[in-house]
């Protein structure tokens, strides 16, 4: 499969490539694990009108063939050297944003110089016409010496003709005339800047021939920017959006969460008569259900956060947010660009770290990666929710504000501010100094397309479910095994103290005692190194095993009540603070290793965050005990 021919989607960022990709490949597509914000190579199946299927690869958006960021490098490598075994695309489907012809035609000319077979999808024709563009696409095709198909990807217009065009080009496997349009002199003889200039001159020349009326400004973008980039209201609105976002994560996800809880509980009730009193029953009721279930419950919150992030991105607002946040990021030696991956890190550090690929400066990129795990990711929510529910009284402070909510908010803020402080400190220690480069395009506002957003969220849900089904399931099973074995002399399960887990906990207890943690929490933390939320499942499993020793009913819901009765408030708060900092996520470390191609950074990350967690926890415990 890797070495079979493929069609590559190429274009500038925000040209509507992803929308077209989804229209062409339907609902079936593969993404490599943990895709960044359209940074990974996405692959789907394109079905032509004669029902023949072809590989379709969505390459990250580029501004030129001279890469400035890592995601651009991916695309350029594929175009110049080919995939894997040097297989170049059999056809380039170039997506051209009709509202940005002035600039994107230059990229088209540059890609054309590669001499690969190529056809052009002239996208967003509806918007361009709405803004007054009058253009002769036949003449454009003639001058470019390439097939050109006007389409509206979001409305599925012109797709049939495009598919016919693709079929036609594939059947002819025609060579594109690479002798570029920059006539009179050979473009190869020019230096890089002269080439760019020559291409832009050609663009202007082409446009003057094919345009009968040039495009006007996007009035909507002008109007909206007057509000969203307003010196006072713009900033205020950004803060309001962020407040609504985080408020929404907690309150609007409650209903679907209670559904999932309900299903899991009735599932447990349903199967328990059939399997109780066997080791399998114990495995499922004490191991799998509490472990995986306690994590699955947080799926709605995670997906809600991604929904908002995708909507902000696809609408064009995210770039404005980066523009407004640049001032704050500058103070700690970062740029506004880092704001986007860092916001994603509130859902999960992994897409955040991968999203950092779009940062041009290597120093800024590394700093962003190093602090992204300090943004409170959704895996912390189960832990925060459990501990706050158990140890913080829900007293009303003022109006709709309650103490529990405020504590949660301050945990988020504290994590983010610590991240900023860490970026500042690490930045000072780095040899390479900040170059202060902030340069990004602010795309026109667009109405996000539901299908595109839902598909992206679906990818996220799959990734999360995969994790719950693999990493967390395995961890739950391991905990169950370690806490119910070895069997004692009578062939029965041991008391928790005698189990492997109990012994490991006892061994670790002296290390965590200054933080107010007992042996059971130590076991939880140990398993939580795999993934933060595992500790909730682990604790649930440990207490479930312990309770079933005493013949009590297993109930995940009561975990909060359970620990409330067992731990002191100081212990609960200390653990809460521990989770702000602790690097309890194996997948993050693996991704950092992959993205930095160095063991140094994941190791450094683990040491810094663990030390911060230990000290902060110790301080918290000392204050409250």
């Amino acid at each position: 499969m890797q070495d079979s021919p493929y069609i590559a989607l190429v274009g500038s960022p925000n040209c509507g490539k992803t929308v077209l990709f989804n229209q062409l490949s339907g609902l079936r597509h593969k993404v490599a694990n943990y895709p960044g914000v359209t940074v990974e190579k996405k692959e789907g199946k394109l079905t032509l009108l004669d029902q023949s299927t072809h590989r379709l690869v969505d390459l990250p958006g580029i501004y030129s063939l001279n890469p400035k960021t890592l995601d651009e490098e991916v695309t350029i490598k594929v175009l110049q050297e080919g995939f894997g075994e040097g297989l170049k695309p059999q056809l380039i489907l170039f997506v051209l944003d009709a509202t940005l012809l002035d600039r994107q035609l230059a990229l088209l000319l540059e890609v054309k110089e590669l001499g690969l077979p190529m056809i052009v999808a002239l996208n967003m024709m509806d918007l361009a016409k709405g803004r007054g563009l009058q253009l002769d696409d036949k003449k454009l095709s003639q001058i470019l010496d390439l097939p050109v198909f006007p389409i509206v990807a979001t409305k599925n217009q012109g797709i049939k003709e495009l598919l016919e065009g693709i079929a036609h080009s594939l059947s002819k496997s025609l060579e594109t005339n690479s002798s570029s349009l920059v006539a009179s002199e050979k473009i190869e003889n020019l230096n890089p800047k002269e080439k760019i200039k020559a291409r832009f001159q050609k663009v202007d020349e082409v446009l003057s021939q094919v345009q009968t009326k040039a495009i006007g400004d996007s009035l909507w973008t002008k109007r909206l920017d007057k509000v969203f980039l307003h010196p006072i209201w713009g900033t205020l609105l950004l803060y309001v959006f962020l407040a609504i976002l985080f408020q929404g994560i907690f309150s609007w996800s409650e209903l679907p969460m209670s559904w999932i809880e309900g299903y899991l509980a009735s599932l447990g009730n349903f199967i328990s008569p059939y399997i109780s009193n066997s080791w399998l029953g114990s495995l499922i009721l004490d191991g799998v259900l509490p472990g995986v279930g306690s994590v699955l419950v947080f799926l709605p919150q995670i997906l809600f956060l991604f929904l908002v992030i995708f909507l902000l991105e696809d609408s064009g607002y995210m770039a404005r947010a980066a523009f407004l946040m640049d001032f704050h990021m500058k103070k700690v030696g970062l740029t506004g660009r880092a704001f986007i991956p860092l916001l994603s890190s509130f859902a999960c550090a992994i897409p955040g770290i991968m999203g950092a690929r779009t940062i041009e400066n290597q120093r800024d990129r590394l700093l962003t990666i190093m602090i992204s795990p300090l943004m409170a990711c959704s895996a912390r929510l189960p832990v925060y929710a459990l501990l706050i529910g158990a140890f913080v009284p829900n007293t009303q402070i003022w109006g709709p504000f309650r103490l529990q909510g405020l504590v949660l908010l301050s945990l988020y803020l504290f994590g983010a501010l610590s991240g900023m402080a860490l970026a500042w400190v690490l930045g000072k220690l780095m040899k390479q100094k900040a170059n202060g480069l902030f340069l990004m395009e602010l795309p026109t506002y667009k109405i996000p397309q539901l299908k595109t957003v839902l598909l992206k969220i679906w990818d996220r849900a799959l990734i999360f479910l995969k994790r719950a089904g693999t990493v967390i399931l395995a961890a739950s099973l391991a905990i169950w095994f370690l806490s119910t074995y070895p069997k004692n002399d009578f062939g029965k399960s041991p008391s928790l103290d005698q189990s492997y887990a109990g012994r490991a906990g006892k061994f670790l207890e002296p290390l965590v005692k200054p933080l107010g943690f007992d042996d059971k929490i130590a076991v939880g933390l140990l398993t939580g190194i795999v993934a933060r939320e595992v500790i909730v499942g682990s604790l649930a499993t440990i207490y479930a095993v312990e309770d079933s020793d005493q013949g009590e009913e297993v109930q995940i819901k009561n975990l909060s009540e359970h620990i409330k009765g067992r731990w002191s408030t100081a212990t609960g708060l200390s653990l809460l603070v521990f989770f702000i900092f602790a690097m309890q996520c194996l997948s993050t470390l693996v991704v950092v290793y992959r993205e930095t191609a160095s063991l140094k950074y994941p190791m450094l990350m683990f040491v810094i965050m663990s030390s911060l967690a230990y000290v902060a926890s110790w301080v918290t415990y000392s204050i409250f005990s």
Binding site: Y63, S64, N66, K68, T99, L100, L101, D102, R103, A106, P192, K193, I196, K197, F200, I215, T221, D225, L229, H230, P231, I232, G234, T235, A319, A322, F323, L324, D326, F327, K330, T335, G336, E360, G436, L437, F438, L439, M440, E441, L442, P443, T444
Partner: protein, 81 residues
Amino acid sequence: MTQDLLTLNDLKPGQSATILEILSDEPLAERFWTLGLTPQAQVTLAHQAPFGKDPIAIQVRGSLLALRREQASQIRVRILS
């Protein structure tokens, strides 16, 4: 103030200018060119960020580009209108 020493930073909101020269080092200069900021291109100052009026957003070749004053100071212009 002579025309020769003006940069993008001297533009007032809504004011347009023609680019004369990009003084930045490579590879940044080439990046500017790629984004349409080439000599003779026309630019308009569209927005300034709230705090310290930095970064700014400029209109060039139909697109809106955000950049910091630090970089804008490396782009020499002739102010129109």
